[in-house]
């Protein structure tokens, strides 16, 4: 009898299948797109249009050791090293059309949505010019208020309809709005299950090493509108909840401390950043990065609003509240803030976010310099010193608390 696959294996296989589906579509002569990570995937999924995600490729290339080579190539083309490393890797790939670490089919059109990053508009504009292909844009204005108002919802909705019309023209595929609603339902299933998996980290010990979020989130980003993804995330959440109920964990060693990790992972330094924490019994139990790829809504208007509540598109107070709530719910003892040199959107307010987070939670925090995919910006010694000192502070606080008890 065939042994039951773990959710982790199912997710990995699903990720490979999703990547292969895009290649197959391309090889069949279908029009395929490059797509921003928080573009409303309901549109393409419902229309049966295959897209692939340069940001995910940037992360994979970074994790597999090709980030520096690709970034340097892009810099040789004239792109500044101040630009996002995902974009530099993508610019290099668009020119080279080959990459030893990972390849994606070349696009026939581009789908951009600036809720994850405003600078992305320039990235995609540039690609459209370089590759001479159409760029479809959904502009989601930065939320300067706490809630997404009616005007914004109407503005986003109007673009939604226009985007569908343009996609129909480009690909020859028709939107079936009944199927769209089914995709909405499936996306809800996936999102709820993914959030349930993440919520299980509130258990003590957390049922898994929080760095696993970084491995499992790819499918949440690219495939959450499919039944296969919904089932995989439900299996993942069930596995975690089962472990939590038994008080078990896949985290290696004793979970002495729990932290919030702020920002995108340093893909090129993932092992080092993980080991420095894990070797000191520190587990990641909170991060807004994973939940960023789940969207909850009941109807079309709420769907529009959900895409405006992407972490990087929010007002500061909402951003802060997300972290503080997460930290409290997941019982963190400290926080590590990644000053990501690639991501101006995320890092621009990080000093203030750290200061306010510290004030509101009372937990110690550290900040380190790094980058999502360019390893030249990361210093192992500097990271190690900060993490070691954080561990010492958390040890001391724990001792004092135990002595008091």
């Amino acid at each position: 009898m065939e042994e039951k696959k773990s959710a982790k294996v199912i997710l990995r296989e699903l990720q490979d299948k999703i990547a292969q589906d895009v290649w197959d579509a391309k090889n069949r002569g279908e029009k395929i797109g490059w797509c921003a990570s928080n573009f409303p995937q309901e549109i393409t999924t419902a229309m049966g249009i295959q897209v692939t995600y340069p940001e995910n490729m940037g992360a994979a290339v970074g994790a597999k050791g090709g980030g520096q080579r690709m970034c340097e190539y892009a810099e040789g083309m004239g792109y500044s090293n101040d630009l996002c490393s995902y974009s530099r890797i993508n610019f290099a790939y668009a020119d080279l059309k080959e990459c030893a670490e990972q390849e994606i089919p070349m696009p026939d059109f581009l789908l951009c949505c600036n809720n994850i990053c405003n600078c992305m508009m320039k990235w995609y504009e540039n690609l459209a010019l370089e590759l001479d292909i159409p760029l479809l844009m959904i502009d989601i204005p930065h939320l300067d208020k706490y809630t997404c108002d009616e005007d914004r919802i109407r503005y986003i909705r109007a673009q939604f309809d226009d985007c569908v019309r343009q996609l129909e023209e480009i690909t020859g595929k028709k939107m079936d709005w009944d199927h769209f609603r089914e995709v909405m339902d499936v996306s809800q299933r996936s999102s709820r299950a993914w959030l349930r998996a993440i919520a299980s980290m509130s258990a003590t010990p957390s049922p898994f090493s929080g760095f696993d979020i970084f491995n499992n989130m790819a499918v949440a980003c690219v495939g959450r509108g499919t039944v296969a993804a919904a089932e995989a995330f439900e299996a993942l959440a069930d596995e975690y909840e089962e472990l939590a109920a038994k008080g078990e964990t896949t985290f290696k060693g004793e979970e002495k401390h729990r932290i919030l990790f702020e920002g995108i992972a340093c893909w090129a330094n993932l092992r080092f950043t993980y080991k420095a924490l894990q070797s000191r019994g520190i587990n990641l139990t909170a991060s807004v990065y994973g939940p960023a790829f789940s969207f909850l809504y009941q109807n079309m208007d709420e769907l529009m609003a959900a895409y405006a509540y992407v972490p990087n598109s929010n007002c500061f107070e909402r951003e802060l509240e997300m972290r503080v709530k997460d930290a409290i719910a997941h019982k963190v003892d400290g926080a590590v803030f990644h000053m990501n040199r690639s991501c101006k959107n995320w890092s621009g307010n990080l000093y203030e976010l750290e200061r306010r987070f510290r004030e509101e939670t009372g937990v110690p925090t550290v900040m380190f310099d790094g980058d999502q995919s360019d390893p030249r910006v990361f210093s192992e010694a500097q990271y190690e010193t900060r993490v070691e000192a954080l561990a010492e502070i958390m040890d001391e606080r724990k001792r004092a608390k135990e002595a008091q008890a």
Binding site: M339, Y351, E354, R355, R358, P364, T365, V366, M367, D369, V377, S379, A381, Q382, T385, R386, E388, A389, E392, I393, E396, A400
Partner: protein, 266 residues
């Protein structure tokens, strides 16, 4: 526990920094029996010289030392250590001993600057460090001193001779170097350039302090604390008095030795 010197307990702290190696031997966790500073840091012969030197000065042998704690950038490669702690904790322990009641400690080291917040009980509660840029650190001042053909120890006196400050606005060490060269070419008196350098570094360090919210009293540790010009500029920028100690450069090593003493007693 005991040793060849009778009932006295000797512990040693080694602060292996990026620019210098410092060792302190403490007698019974209170009296500084000997100290050394070698201006060569991790990866050089500095750590060994500082270690052998401090034993010789104290008239002790390795086996007379009950416990050794290493700290600083090169802490993990210092083979003599029994224990290792981060430089943040070492400086906090040292500063609490040097300046009882201190709540904010500004440590300006060779390649980083850090601001520590201590609890009322003198325990490290939180900290911030500079980012990867070396502006505002000891290295920044060393680079500037070299262009001016000065020793870094002369900067404080030179600052005292200035009647005004030459504006150095760049926070980047390389760009600031160009600015200093331009000032020299214009014939700006060296003391004024030095004051401008100190003010530039002070602004950078003060912004780090503000990220922690300044709680007084505050002290400065690290080799840069010996530079009166830098202390003046920083105090002026923060609008407060800053405590310093003649042994400020030894603060981390002292804290490490005290840490070793506490652990030896457990």
């Amino acid at each position: 526990m005991g040793n060849a010197m009778g009932t006295d307990i000797y512990t040693l702290g080694a602060d292996i920094g990026s620019a210098a190696s410092k060792c302190v031997i403490l007698k019974n966790g209170a009296e500084m029996a000997a100290s050394t500073v070698e201006s060569a840091g991790a990866g050089t012969g500095g750590p060994a010289r500082a270690f052998e030197g401090v034993l010789a000065k104290a008239g002790l042998r390795r086996e007379d030392i009950a416990m050794i704690t290493a700290t600083g950038y090169g802490r993990n490669s210092f083979a003599e250590a029994d224990l290792v702690i981060s430089e943040l904790s070492a400086h906090a322990i040292g500063a609490a001993a040097f300046f009882p009641g201190v709540r904010t400690v500004i440590d300006i080291g060779g390649q980083d600057a850090k601001v520590l917040r201590l609890t009322e009980a003198g325990v490290l509660d939180n900290f911030v460090m500079n980012d990867k840029c070396a502006a505002g650190t000891g290295r920044f001042l060393e680079v500037m001193a070299r262009i001016l053909e000065l020793d870094v120890t002369q900067l404080g006196d030179m600052d005292g001779k200035a009647e005004q400050s030459a504006g150095i606005s760049s926070t980047c060490t390389v760009f600031a170097e160009s600015e200093v060269i331009s000032q020299l070419a214009k014939g700006t008196p060296i003391p004024e350039i030095v004051r401008g350098i100190h003010e530039s570094a002070a602004v950078r360090t003060a912004s780090l302090v503000r990220r922690m919210n300044l709680v007084l009293p505050a002290a400065v540790t690290g080799g840069v604390a010996q530079n009166r010009g830098m202390i003046r500029a920083l105090g002026q920028e923060l609008g407060c008095e800053l405590m310093i100690s003649p042994d400020s450069q030894l603060c981390g090593a002292y804290g490490a030795a005290l840490h070793a003493y506490r652990k030896a007693g457990q």
